[in-house]
C-alpha cells in the first residue's frame, strides 16, 4: 500500500511541478507543429471530401503566397470541426452543409463561432443513377418506378432487394427513413467512407453496371461518371423535420463558411480574406478534379487555378 501511495503522490506532484499551478486556458492551444518558423499562422479545417480540400487548397495558397501567412490544416469531420472551431483549435470551416443544432449551440448561445458568409457553392444531396442506365430506362429517374427496376440493383450485400448505396457516416442522410416511408423494395448499404463509395462507383461504371447511390453535388466524380438524379417527392420547408417520417427530397443548401469568433474579430487580413472568399461550383470542381482525378497535390492544383483566375481572387483581397 505504501509504495503505491508514494508513487501516486510522486506522479501528481511532478505533474503539478511541470505545469505550474495556475489555471490553464483550454481554449488557447495550437498544434505543437504549427508556427515552427515563427510566422503568422492560420489553421484551417479540411473535411474528408475533395470539394472541401479544394476550398482549403486555394485559400491556403493565397494566404501563403499573397498575404504571407503560414497555414496549417487539420483533417476533421464536420461535427467535430464545429467543436474545434468553438475552442479555437481551428480558425475556419470553409464548407458547412447545414448543422442547425450546432449553429444554435455555438453561434446563437455561446457566440464562440461567427458566420463567415456564403461559400458561393450550392450543395444538393440526392439519389443518382449512372446516365448510361437512365438512357436505357428513361422512367427510372422517378422514384415511383424504382420498385419496377429493383432487380437491376441487386448485389450480394442487399440480397433479394435492390441496393441503395450510402456513403460516409459523417454525411447527412434520411435514406433509411425514405426507403421505408416511400415503401421501396430497397436495402440501404452503407459504404462506410467516401473513398469506398467512389471506388465502388467507378468499378460499377467501368463495367456499365446499374447502380443507385446517395450522392451530392458539387462533386468532381460527375465528370468521370456522368450521373442523373432520381426525382423524389419534392422538398418543402420542414418536410424533413421529423427524421422518422421524412418522405421528401433533400433541400438545396447554399454552403456556409464559419469562423472562430475571436479570429473573426482579430484575425486581420486573413479573417477579412476568408470572409470574402466566394467562388462558383465550376471553380470548385475544376480544382477538385485536378486533385482527385489527375492526382495533383492540392498545392499544385491550387497554384494552377490561382494562376488562371486572377480576376476572381483579386476581389477577395481588396
Amino acid at each position: 500500500m505504501r509504495v503505491r501511495n508514494t508513487a501516486l503522490v510522486a506522479a501528481l506532484s511532478s505533474l503539478a511541478l511541470l505545469t505550474g499551478c495556475g489555471a490553464a486556458d483550454m481554449t488557447k492551444q495550437a498544434s505543437p507543429f504549427a508556427n515552427a518558423q515563427g510566422a503568422k499562422t492560420v489553421t484551417l479545417s479540411v473535411q474528408s471530401w475533395v470539394g472541401a480540400q479544394a476550398n482549403v487548397a486555394v485559400a491556403q495558397y493565397i494566404l501563403e503566397h499573397e498575404l504571407g501567412y503560414r497555414v496549417d490544416t487539420v483533417q476533421v469531420d464536420e461535427v467535430p470541426a464545429w467543436d474545434a472551431l468553438s475552442q479555437g483549435r481551428v480558425d475556419a470551416l470553409l464548407e458547412d452543409w447545414g448543422h442547425p443544432e450546432q449553429e444554435q449551440r455555438y453561434v446563437k448561445d455561446k457566440k464562440t463561432i461567427a458566420p463567415g458568409g456564403e461559400l458561393g457553392v450550392t450543395g444538393h444531396i440526392g439519389w443518382f443513377v449512372p446516365t448510361y442506365l437512365a438512357k436505357q430506362h428513361p422512367d427510372i429517374t422517378n422514384w415511383k418506378n424504382l420498385n419496377k427496376y429493383s432487380h437491376l440493383f441487386r448485389t450480394p450485400e442487399s440480397g433479394d432487394k435492390g441496393q441503395l448505396m450510402d456513403g460516409s457516416p459523417s454525411y447527412v442522410t434520411n435514406d433509411k427513413a425514405l426507403v421505408k416511408n416511400l415503401k421501396l423494395d430497397y436495402q440501404v448499404v452503407f459504404a462506410g467512407s467516401e473513398a469506398a463509395q467512389i471506388t465502388q462507383m467507378r468499378q460499377f461504371a467501368k463495367e456499365k453496371k446499374p447502380f443507385l447511390t446517395y450522392w451530392y453535388t458539387p462533386q468532381w466524380l460527375f465528370k468521370k461518371v456522368p450521373m442523373t438524379e432520381v426525382k423524389l417527392p419534392p422538398y418543402k420547408e420542414g418536410c424533413d423535420a421529423d427524421p422518422e417520417k421524412v418522405a421528401c427530397a433533400y433541400p438545396h443548401t447554399p454552403l456556409q463558411k464559419y469562423l472562430n469568433s475571436g479570429f473573426a474579430k482579430n484575425g486581420g487580413k486573413a479573417a477579412a480574406f476568408l470572409k470574402k472568399f466566394k467562388w462558383t461550383t465550376e471553380d470548385q470542381n475544376e480544382v477538385s478534379l485536378m486533385i482527385a482525378d489527375k492526382k495533383m497535390t492540392p498545392e499544385e492544383a491550387a497554384k494552377k487555378w490561382v494562376d488562371s483566375h486572377r480576376s476572381t481572387w483579386k476581389k477577395w483581397l481588396s
Partner: protein, 649 residues
C-alpha cells in the same frame, strides 16, 4: 492468489459421466431445462427482449453536453485537463523542434549510431536506410511530426504502464481490479473513445497522445506486473534477510530482476503506439497518419502508401532495435562500451553541425522520389483485370459475392435466428467445456451485456463476420505456418512480408480492398484477414519449431514419414501454441471491425465510426462497449483453463 481457479468437485461417477466435459454439459442442460421455459414464458424467444435493455443515450448525451458547457470554466478542466494538455503540447513541440534543429542528416546519424551501440552494425545500417527512405518518399517533415508525437506518447505510456504494473505486481487486490480495466483499454476500439477524449481535450495533439496512451499502456502494465511477480523467490529472500525495507527490495532486487519483461513492455508499447498513428490522425494529430488519411479522401492509394511506408519502416526499426537491446540485457557488458557511446555522440554532433553549416536542415526537394503514380497505375491494373471476368476462377468480385451469399449470409442468418437464450447457452457450454465455471460465467455475462445495451442484432452481425474471418485466417495461417516451420528459407522470405502486413496502417489498403471485393461485408472480412494473418502464422511456426527435437528424432527413427511426424507428433505437441493462435486471431480480427465499418461492413464497426463523425457519444460508446463484450466473450470461449500470463505480450 488470483491464479487459483476453482475446479469442479470430483465425485465418483460411472463410465461416460466421469468425463468432466460431459458432466459440465449435463449440469448446464439441467439448468437450461429449468430456466429456459421461465425465460421463454416471461420474455418470449427470438431476438433479445426489449424489456431487458437499458437505453444509455439520454445520460450519455447529457454527459457530452455537460462537458461542452463546462469545458472553459470548471476547475476540473482549468486545473487538471488543461495542464495535462499543456504539458503534452510543450513536450511534443520540444521534441519536434529538436528533431528539426538536428536536421535530416543529424537525425539519421543519431538513429544509426544508437542502433549501432544497442544492436550492432547491421541494424545501424538498416536504421539509416529507413530514415533516408522516409526522406526519399518526401515524408521527412511528417515523419518527424509522428516521431515527436510517438516519443512523448511512448514515454507517457511507459510511465503510466509502469505505475499501473507496480500496483498490480505488488498487490493482489489491485491486480484483480486492474485486469478487466486493462482488457477493456485494449479491446475497446480506439474510435469509440476518440470522441470522449476529443470532447475533453478538443481535437489535436493532446487528445491524440491521450488516446495513444490508453491503447499502448496496458502491455507495459501487464509485463511490469508479470516481471515483478516472476522474480526469483530465493533472491528475494536473500535480500530480505539482509534487513532491507520494502522499497529497497523493490528498487534493488525486484525491478532489476524484471528488466527483461520491462524492456519487452517498452517494445510492445512502441509497436502499439505506432499502430495508433493513423487513427490519431482522425482527430487531428497530424504527421504521417494525417497524410494517409488525407490521401483516402482523394482515393489515392499511391499517396497513402508513400505515407504508410515510413510508418512500417519506423515500426520495424524500433522493433528490431529494442528487441536486440532486450537480448543483450542478460549478456556481459562489452569492455569500453562507454567509449563507444562517446564516439557515437561525437559522430552525431559532427554530422548535425555539418548539416547546419551546409544549410541542409530540410530534406532537399530534388531528392524526392514520387511513388504515388506507378503505385496507382499498378492498383488500377490489378482491379481492372482481377475484379471480374477472369477465366475459370472468376474475378475477385465474384468470390466476394459468393463468400457473402454462401458463408456470411447463412452464418448471420443462423445467429440472428437463434433465440436469445440459446445463444447464451451455447456460449456457456463452449466456455465451460474449454475453461472453468468462472470463464463461462464471464462469457455469458458479456454476451448478456450486449443484449442489455440494446445492440443484440448488429452484434450478431459483427460476430458472424468475425467468425468467418477467423475461419479463413486460421486455415490460411495454419497452412502457411506449417510450411514455414518446415522450411527455413520460406520463413526468412515470409518475415518481411509479415512485418509489412502487421504494421501497414489499415487505411492504406482500404481502397484496394474495396476495388477488389466491392463494398460490403466481404472487403471488411478481407481487411481483417490481412491484419490477423501474420500473428497466426508466426505463432504457429514458432509453436511447431519449439516441439522437442528428441520427440521428432524418435518418431523419425521409427520410420515415420514427414507427414506422419507432422500429424502425430508436431501438431499435438504444439497444441497450446495453436490454441493461442486461435485466440490471437479472434482478438486481432475484432480489432479491425471498425475498419470494416469503413468499407461497408456495417453493424458495430459502422456505429462506432458514425458516433465519432456525428459527435454522437451514445451510438459510438455503446457500439464500442458491445465490441469489448464480444471480445471478452470470444477470449473466454477460446481460452483454456490456465490463465494467460503472456496476453498483452
Amino acid at each position: 492468489m488470483a491464479t487459483i481457479t476453482a475446479s469442479p468437485p470430483r465425485i465418483g461417477l460411472p463410465g461416460l459421466l466421469r468425463h468432466p466435459a460431459v458432466r459440465k454439459l449435463l449440469l448446464l442442460a439441467l439448468a437450461a431445462a429449468i430456466l429456459v421455459p421461465l425465460a421463454d414464458a416471461r420474455w418470449a424467444s427470438g431476438a433479445w427482449p426489449s424489456a431487458l435493455t437499458v437505453d444509455f443515450s439520454e445520460p450519455l448525451a447529457k454527459a457530452s453536453d455537460w462537458i461542452i458547457d463546462n469545458r472553459d470554466s470548471h476547475p476540473l478542466f482549468l486545473y487538471f485537463f488543461g495542464h495535462v494538455s499543456n504539458v503534452v503540447v510543450i513536450a511534443v513541440r520540444a521534441v519536434y523542434l529538436t528533431l528539426l534543429a538536428i536536421g535530416w542528416a543529424g537525425v539519421t546519424a543519431l538513429g544509426a549510431l544508437v542502433a549501432w551501440r544497442v544492436a550492432g552494425v547491421r541494424l545501424a545500417l538498416g536504421t539509416a536506410v529507413a530514415f533516408l527512405a522516409c526522406g526519399l518518399l518526401g515524408m521527412w517533415v511528417p515523419t518527424m511530426q509522428t516521431l515527436a508525437l510517438m516519443v512523448v506518447a511512448v514515454v507517457a505510456s511507459v510511465v503510466v504502464g509502469m505505475l499501473l504494473g507496480l500496483a498490480a505486481g505488488l498487490s493482489d487486490r489491485m491486480d484483480r481490479v486492474l485486469r478487466p480495466v486493462l482488457d477493456t483499454m485494449q479491446v475497446l476500439p480506439a474510435f469509440a473513445y476518440l470522441l470522449p477524449v476529443v470532447l475533453v481535450f478538443g481535437i489535436g495533439v493532446p487528445a491524440a497522445v491521450l488516446a495513444t496512451v490508453i491503447y499502448a499502456a496496458p502491455p507495459m502494465a501487464r509485463l511490469t506486473s508479470l516481471g515483478l511477480r516472476g522474480a526469483d523467490k530465493e533472491v528475494l529472500e536473500a535480500v530480505e534477510s539482509l534487513g532491507s525495507t520494502a522499497r529497497q527490495r523493490l528498487l534493488t532486487a525486484r525491478l532489476p530482476l524484471a528488466r527483461k519483461e520491462l524492456l519487452l513492455g517498452v517494445n510492445q508499447t512502441i509497436m502499439m503506439a505506432l499502430s495508433m498513428a493513423v487513427i490519431a490522425a482522425v482527430i487531428g494529430a497530424g504527421g504521417l497518419g494525417d497524410r494517409v488519411y488525407q490521401a483516402l479522401a482523394s482515393v489515392d492509394v499511391g499517396a497513402a502508401l508513400a505515407a504508410g511506408i515510413p510508418i512500417v519502416l519506423l515500426a520495424v526499426v524500433l522493433d528490431r532495435v529494442t528487441g536486440a537491446a532486450g537480448e543483450k540485457l542478460g549478456a556481459e557488458p562489452e569492455p569500453r562500451s562507454g567509449l563507444g557511446w562517446l564516439l557515437a555522440l561525437v559522430g552525431v554532433v559532427a554530422v548535425a553541425v555539418a548539416g547546419r553549416f551546409a544549410g541542409r536542415l530540410d530534406w532537399p526537394e530534388a531528392w524526392i522520389v514520387g511513388i504515388a503514380e506507378p503505385v496507382n497505375r499498378a492498383v488500377d491494373w490489378m482491379t481492372a483485370h482481377l475484379y471480374s471476368g477472369v477465366p475459370v476462377i472468376g474475378g475477385t468480385a465474384d468470390w466476394a459475392g459468393h463468400f457473402t451469399t454462401w458463408v456470411l449470409d447463412p452464418v448471420r442468418g443462423g445467429l440472428q435466428w437463434l433465440p436469445w437464450w440459446s445463444v447464451l447457452l451455447i456460449v456457456a457450454a463452449l466456455a465451460w467445456v474449454i475453461g472453468t465455471w468462472r470463464t463461462a460465467l464471464t462469457a455469458v455475462l458479456a454476451m448478456a451485456a450486449i443484449g442489455v445495451l440494446g445492440v443484440w442484432q448488429p452484434s450478431l452481425d459483427t460476430l458472424s463476420q468475425v467468425l468467418a474471418a477467423v475461419a479463413v485466417t486460421l486455415v490460411v495461417g495454419f497452412a502457411t505456418g506449417i510450411a514455414a516451420a518446415r522450411s527455413d528459407r520460406l520463413e526468412r522470405l515470409l518475415r518481411p512480408v509479415l512485418d509489412v502486413f502487421q504494421t501497414m496502417p489499415q487505411f492504406v489498403y482500404l481502397i484496394p480492398v474495396v476495388a477488389l471485393f466491392g463494398v460490403g461485408r466481404a472487403p471488411a472480412v478481407a481487411a481483417a484477414i490481412v491484419y490477423a494473418l501474420p500473428a497466426v502464422v508466426r505463432i504457429t511456426t514458432q509453436g511447431l519449431r519449439q516441439v522437442d527435437p528428441a520427440a521428432l528424432e524418435a518418431s523419425g527413427s521409427l520410420g515415420a514419414t514427414s507427414w506422419q511426424q507432422l500429424k502425430q507428433v508436431q501438431l499435438p505437441l504444439a497444441r497450446p501454441a495453436l490454441l493461442l493462435a486461435v485466440n490471437q486471431g479472434l482478438v486481432l480480427v475484432l480489432a479491425v471491425v471498425v475498419i470494416g465499418g469503413l468499407v461497408g461492413g456495417g453493424a458495430l464497426g459502422y456505429d462506432v465510426v458514425f458516433g465519432l463523425a456525428q459527435g454522437d457519444l451514445a451510438t459510438g460508446l455503446v457500439a464500442g462497449a458491445a465490441i469489448v463484450c464480444l471480445g471478452l466473450m470470444l477470449d473466454r470461449v477460446t481460452q483454456p483453463t490456465e490463465r494467460r500470463a503472456k496476453k498483452g505480450a
